[in-house]
Amino acid sequence: MTGPSTKSLAAWTRPNSLPATWRGSRLVGKILMGLAVLVLIILFLYPPLLMVMAAFRRGQLAGQGEWTLQPFLDTITSPVTWVVTWNSIVLSLVVAILGLAFGTFLAWVAVRTRTPMRRWMTPIMAVTLVIPSLFYGLGWYVTLAPPKAPVNQALQGIFGLGPGDAPVSSGWGTLIFVVVGHVIPIAYLFMVGPMSRMDAALDDAARMSGATRGSAFFTVTLPLLRPSMLGVLALMTTYGMSAFELPLLFGLPSGIHVFSTKVLNTINESEDLPNYAGASTLALILVLLVVLLVALRERFVGNRRYSTITGKGFRPEPKSYGRWQWAFLAVFVLVVLWSGVIPLVQMILGSFEYIAGVASLGFTTGNYEEVLTGRRTFQALTFTLGIAAIGGFLAAAVALLLSHTAVRSGRFVRVVAMLVSWAPVAIPGVLVGLALLTAYMPIPGLQKLIGTPVMLVLGFIVVATPIATRAVEGGVLQLSAELEESARISGASRATTFFTVVFPLVLPSFLAGWFIAGIGIAGNLSLPVLLSTPTMRTAAVTAYDLYNQGRTGESAALFLLLMLAVAVVGGLAWLVSLGVIRLLKRTRVSRIERAMSMKGSVLHA
């Protein structure tokens, strides 16, 4: 019998109950990650889960009261539910596909071609995005729908129709035309970041292999943008499901009912007890749609690599397309008229009219006088700008962290990040404030924050993060891992790598995400009313109240002042960011030069 050898004794260590990956600093890291996941689940996943549960409970509050199947059964057996669902799905898909097609094309024109005015395209689209959907709709309504509308008058003249005829009024055609026009700027701004990071060498390779410019666009450029495009397509489909004002103006008079108007009707159909169960049953349809869209996106994107930003030789230069560029410019101008100028002109006219939309009664500056002398106008404007900037930034920051963590982490974290970044979208827009408030009410820490600005910012982060994520995630997916690996091999820490390599490269997407999220926050009507106190009113809510009192001209004037303020602050922020980017570039160049000269001195020594 032989005892243990010296070698085996030396190799022996005391057994530990925890594996190596669960000890020391790694354990702390895992605990912190666990806490972060818990917070994310409570903030982002619990509200939509509560809305799902609410389909089976009847009470004064959503998700509370007696358990029952009856409202669920009543809703799903109602033929109206399925008509509304079909209408909403048709509207959403058509709008998402057309909006994304126009947005992607124009983003390509802006950053991949040498079309005249291309540098102005992004700022113009950004300004267009600020037009509130209510006034965008009212602007197009007075332009298109009534028999006395300019378009109908022109058609009456051309086709010899009577003065009471309205060949263009409400209905599917008008509804789709108007909603598509409203979402093109969103699609453009989502796509312009990823498009600007496409390496021209990839196109060149396709051309050298015999492809035409057109086929290179469809076989190289578009497939590489698939992650961004599919994410934006899914998000815009849910936009179509949440659209409220435009279907109300252009669908309802023709008997076209959609999801959001039906949800609101269902809640308020009985005065004694709100029918949250019925409304939540409808919301389940939206949940299923979101799950389907996200699953499709995952299936298409899968584990393939879409990195277009690599190290050496990365060239995102635009190319000249000759005379075609003038056609591109004409398309851009037409889209800007469609999405922005025509409704904006009507909105400006309305703000100077005694009764908005009725120019025959003359013009007045009274609406602006009323608004500017209002007790809380200035406070509402500054509060709106402040909360939009802070909420938008934080949402974009959360989106960046989620996207980056998802790409560089394991499957569990990736799934959590994906759920968090999509879950709030599954709540119908008209219910989102209610869902957040009802979900957070019983949670001790959050409960005390209700009615404070902190809760409002928190709510905005939850609502805006899915939007910001769609802008940021495409940019993160395009980053090649080799860039970060190089930095880590050179001795940089994770944090240093993130802030010096990742962040500068995804900055265009981050800024787009910040801006789009900020605009969404500034125009949000549901959260400020329910999550804050009346003294923390945003300008959009104030303007909407004015509209509901029949003071449409004053409402238009206040919205225009808000747009002006956003344009001025956004313009200043843009200039500052340009300055910062230049400064960073200069610093980087001087560092490289210094490093090179030091290297040189060593060589010469």
Partner: protein
């Protein structure tokens, strides 16, 4: 830039601009700019000297308690009405938050859970406020002003101080007052088909509730009933928003607006006295909404809220209601300009306050279904 490029650039910009110019041209003004709206002079006694003294004492008490605002959850009234109170009691600001129905109750539940109470007063149509009173959200108040008992409900918690009416709006350039329909039967005459505009009941709201009033209680159903509701549906073109009914008639797109909301008409005439529109009340069966308010339990500004509630029932408060287009409910106060007193206005019979909570729901659904909702 070469000449050909200049030409192409001009074409690229010009074609779309021609379209927008054409789009805006027909919106050019034709009027003389309209007259400035006439202001309503503020002044006069608040009420009797005793009431005034008691209100003043309450005001001082509220200020001493640091209560400088009243937060009201409900649709805001015209600013002139609020200004009249704030001119009288300048240390207290009235802040409205457009929270209605279920949103308001959810908000109050959240305030209760968090302990961060913000709302002082709930104000709306009577049904949701009566519902709140029954559910224990409202505090009992012993009013300083002598409010008749029929204007107080649910154990002294709910107060009915005002009403708004819906009527017929006509464009006087297109039809005369004599020609205009003055009964529900005349409104469903096929000769008006396509000439009437109404807010769509499909999305609920005033259109659906006002139509439901024609169907219940039984006496209304016997006189008007589904016959009128279906006749209207056959005659009217619908718009999405109440304000569009008024603007469509003012613009002359339609000669007749049905279920026109009087406060919107009032605001229009205030802004543009020469607008070619006239509000007509039907001979019988005018639909209306009875307004109610209550002080919320645990209101953070209870004294200021009580002062506001009392002021709305004073002679000054009630007259200001009339001056801003709303029917005052206190006896002896004349109706809004151009409208008959409430007891001569041919207002339709409503369900009782408590019955109204559940009594209209089925009829609202019937009306919505008729319009495809």
């Amino acid at each position: 830039m070469r000449n050909s490029q200049r030409w192409l650039a001009t074409a690229a910009l010009a074609i779309p601009l021609v379209l927008v110019t054409a789009g805006c041209a027909s919106g050019a003004p034709e009027g003389d700019g309209g007259a400035a709206p006439g202001g309503s002079p503020y002044g006069g006694e608040v009420d009797s000297p005793e009431v005034e003294a008691a209100l003043d004492a309450l005001y001082q008490e509220a200020l001493a308690a640091g209560e400088d605002q009243v937060v009201v959850y409900g649709p805001p009234p015209p600013q002139d009405y609020l200004d009249a109170f704030m001119d009288r009691f300048p240390g207290i600001e009235i802040i409205y938050e457009q929270l209605q129905s279920q949103d308001r109750v959810t908000r109050l539940e959240a305030e209760k859970a968090s302990g961060n109470y913000a709302g002082d007063v709930a104000q709306d149509g009577r049904t949701p406020i009566v519902n709140m009173g029954l559910d224990g959200w409202c505090a009992a108040v012993d009013p300083i002003v002598d409010v008749p008992s029929d204007l107080i409900g649910i154990d002294g918690t709910v107060f009915y101080g005002q009403a708004t009416v819906f009527g017929v709006l006509i464009n006087t350039d297109l039809i005369s007052e004599e020609e205009a329909p003055k009964t529900w039967d005349e409104l469903i005459d096929p000769k008006w088909k396509g000439k009437e505009v109404m807010v769509s009941p499909a999305a609920g709201g005033a259109g659906a509730f006002a139509s439901a009033m024609l169907l219940t209680p039984q006496e209304n159903a016997d006189t008007w009933g589904m016959r009128i509701v279906e006749g209207l549906q056959a005659n009217v073109d619908t718009v999405a928003k109440d304000a569009q009914t008024v603007s469509s008639v003012v613009e002359g797109t339609y000669p007749i607006g049905v279920l026109a909301y009087y406060p919107y008409y009032f605001q229009t005439i205030k802004d543009v006295p020469n607008a070619p529109v006239q509000f007509i009340m039907l001979e019988e069966g005018n639909t209306w909404s009875k307004g109610a308010q209550c002080i919320i339990e645990n209101a953070p500004h209870p004294l200021a809220a009580e002062l506001w509630l009392n002021w709305t029932f004073t002679v000054e408060g009630q007259n200001m209601l009339a001056e801003t287009g709303t029917y005052p409910m206190m006896p002896g106060i004349p109706g809004p300009t151009g409208l008959p007193p409430a007891d001569e206005a041919g207002l339709i019979t409503l369900l009782s306050d408590e019955d109204s909570i559940t009594g209209y729901a089925d009829y609202v659904k019937q009306v919505q279904a008729l319009y495809g909702g």
